[in-house]
């Protein structure tokens, strides 16, 4: 019997700054009937249907903004779907963050109890497991010290130790393995594998493709709020990574006009590196040309370009407000250019660009996967040499030999 059945699930969000109103505006609105502008809406999930069998470990993958987090929030009952239904058989625990409810003033011991209770453990259960949790977190001496004196690593370890000892029938996890040091992550992945082999049903969202493929048996691939593919994990992972490749080696701009108020829309994005357009070479610099059209002249826009690697980890966040030479107001139509300095470069590989434009704290346009591009290996250092171990970035950092004292 299926542990989770999802049918035609949809979630619609309202857009704009009106995440909350003020009573004052509401009262003023009473006297201005019909003046209220239609709010824009957007479907974070639309017509999503799937089943999870008991004992399955399902990895949910997809680009940023594909609806993964929204799906988890609905499954954990944090937010209500707009349409469709979910049927869940069994006790659910959701772990959308480690250390939810941790309070800095409380001691480690007190936080274990509080956090355990928030995650759905009973007091008896926490008391019974307390020593195991403390041992798992590799803590014994600081348990009665307020958590505010802990290092962030210690706090994370303790928080994860609590989470790892949840024993629900269905476990819903979001991205929590992306915390802690590598050794502790490994321990956690091991613990999760143990949980999974114990016959529990697990739904796991992560950008860490290695973790997802090694842990999960089934995969669910979301794209723009819909199920793109579902099946054995390896197949789904391959399909996802394949899609991340630029089609035919040529990247093209994809604006969807779906998100944001629309007061400004991006109309084109061009990536230049040196004199080449459409491809990038390490060492030739990297320029982004953003063309936009706004609803009115003199628009107080703020432009944001984020770059993600193929695992959808955000590597760079670039925001026009950080550059004080940018004007405050922009013409109705125009092109802005962003230049990534040539002495820093992304390592060779595939990347995707996220664009956003914000006007007075209101998102005007937001395109999560606006374009993909490939960084090609170039002679970054100008001498044909490369670092011994590859990393996310290449940087021209000068070395020098210090004269002996």
């Amino acid at each position: 019997m299926a542990a989770i059945t999802v049918r035609h699930l949809g979630k619609q969000y309202r857009l704009g700054t009106q995440t909350y109103d003020t009573l004052r505006d509401q009262l003023a609105g009473l006297f201005r009937r019909g003046a209220r502008a239609e709010r824009q809406t957007f479907w974070a999930l639309k017509d999503v249907s799937f089943e999870v069998a008991k004992g399955d470990i399902v990895g949910v993958i997809g680009r940023n903004g594909a609806g993964k987090s929204t799906l988890l929030k609905i499954l954990s009952q944090i937010t209500e779907p707009t349409e469709g239904e979910v049927r869940i058989r069994g006790r659910v625990a959701s772990l959308l963050e480690v250390g939810t409810g941790f309070h800095p003033e409380l001691t480690g011991r007190e936080n274990v109890f509080l956090n355990g209770a928030i995650l759905g453990m009973t007091r008896a259960e926490i008391t019974r497991k307390f020593d195991v949790i403390a041992a798992f977190a590799e803590m014994d001496t600081f348990l009665d010290t307020p958590v505010k004196h802990y290092s962030s690593g210690m706090t994370t370890r303790l928080a994860f130790a609590v989470a790892a000892h949840l024993e629900p029938e269905i476990l819903i996890i979001d991205e929590v393995l992306a915390v802690g040091d590598a050794a502790f992550q490994k321990k956690c992945i091991g613990k999760m594998g143990e949980v999974a082999r114990g016959g529990r049903t697990v739904i796991f969202v992560s950008h860490n493709m290695a973790a997802v493929t090694s842990l999960c048996t089934r995969g669910l691939y979301l794209e723009r709020g819909q199920v793109k593919a579902a099946g054995p994990m390896q197949e789904i992972a391959d399909a996802y990574l394949n899609d991340a490749l630029p089609q035919g080696g040529k990247s093209s701009f994809r604006g969807d006009g779906q998100r944001g108020s629309g007061k400004l829309r991006f109309t084109d994005l061009e990536i230049r590196s040196g004199e080449v357009t459409g491809a990038a070479v390490c060492g030739a610099g990297l320029r982004f040309r953003l063309t936009y059209a706004a609803e009115q002249d003199r628009v107080a826009a703020r432009f944001i370009v984020n770059i993600y690697d193929h695992q959808q980890i955000r590597l760079l966040a670039m925001d026009s407000v950080t550059d004080s030479s940018m004007p405050q107001f922009f013409p109705r139509e125009g092109t802005v250019e962003l230049q990534v300095p040539a002495d820093v470069s992304l390592a060779p590989g595939r990347y995707s660009v996220e664009l956003a434009a914000v006007i007075y704290d209101e998102v005007a346009d937001h395109i999560p996967g606006a374009m993909e591009f490939e960084m090609r290996n170039g002679d970054f250092f100008g001498n044909g040499k490369m670092p011994h171990d590859p990393a996310a970035f290449l940087v021209k950092a000068p070395w020098s030999l210090q004269a002996p004292d």
Partner: protein, 281 residues
């Protein structure tokens, strides 16, 4: 672990249009979390500072002194033969509980934004646990009240046994207002300015520092008692000072009815907006 118990239970998640009834069974299932949250609030409040505890004593005592000097000495307000400090302090007890706890519970949902957007549980336990954590303060105040009664030679009467009833009424009134304001605060953030205003204005129309029966004209009495704290304060004075202070009963019943209405509507409003909290907060 209740694995077997829960194995057959099927939970259905779907949009809930229209009216949603309060699920007391669910709230009961989350009673442990409720306890933990109240315990956390108490720990956090008194952990950091010694002044935290001293403040609980100082605040009502100083207010009582000001009222006693202002109304009792200078104003020569009638005290019906009772020592003015005890008269004021008995009223201060429910008022302080209401004013202090209401402020905190109104802010409680917004302050718990992180938990609300990460974990599911009936949200009503958040403002409720804050109100509960106020009990510690109330107990300390009761001790001070006892000391004052001894000092001024007020007789301990069996009527004191009725005090818990009026305490419960204070508690329910505070919780009802807390449910209303905390839920409103999620949607309308200017509510946080409204609540301090209410408590500041409230102390003017609530007879904390004086006996009101002789001051409010006959035809205004029932209107005055629409404020549920009036009946509660009467009740407190009656329990502490004896039969000579019997409350104006129509007012007590009216106040109780107002509390009941606030409580039911507050919980229903809360319940029906609860599903949007995570999206708004």
């Amino acid at each position: 672990m209740s694995d077997n118990l829960a194995a057959d239970a099927e939970r259905v998640i779907r949009p809930q249009p229209g009216f949603i009834a309060i699920d007391f069974g669910e709230i009961w299932r989350y009673r442990e979390l409720f306890g933990f949250l109240a315990w956390r609030d108490i720990l956090v409040r008194y952990k950091q500072t010694y002044l935290g505890v001293a403040w609980v004593v100082l605040q009502p005592v100083l207010t009582m002194l000001v009222f006693t000097v202002l109304f009792g000495r200078f104003g020569k307000f009638p005290s019906n033969g009772a020592p003015y400090p005890v008269l004021t302090f008995a009223a201060m007890l429910p008022w302080q509980f209401f004013a202090n706890t209401l402020g905190e519970s109104s802010n409680s949902l917004v302050a718990s934004a992180r938990i609300i957007s990460r974990v599911y549980f009936p949200r009503l336990i958040i403002p409720a646990s804050v109100v509960c954590s106020g009990v510690v303060e109330a107990v300390i105040s009761v001790v001070i009240l006892g000391i004052l009664m001894l000092w001024y030679g007020v007789v301990f009467r069996p009527l004191l046994l009725l005090l818990p009833v009026f305490f419960a009424l204070t508690f329910l009134t505070t919780f009802a207002a807390g449910a209303w304001f905390s839920a409103l605060n999620v949607k309308y953030r200017d509510v946080r300015y409204v609540v301090p205003f209410i408590t500041r204005l409230g102390i003017m129309v609530t007879p904390v520092g004086f006996l009101w029966m002789g001051m409010v004209p006959e035809k205004w009495r029932l209107w005055f008692c629409l404020n549920p704290l009036v009946g509660i304060i009467d009740g407190f004075r009656w329990c502490v000072l004896g039969p000579g202070f019997e409350p104006y009963w129509p007012g007590v019943w009216l106040g109780g009815a107002v509390t009941a209405v606030l409580l039911v509507t507050g919980m229903v409003y809360f319940r029906n907006t609860e599903k949007t909290f995570a999206d708004l907060i």
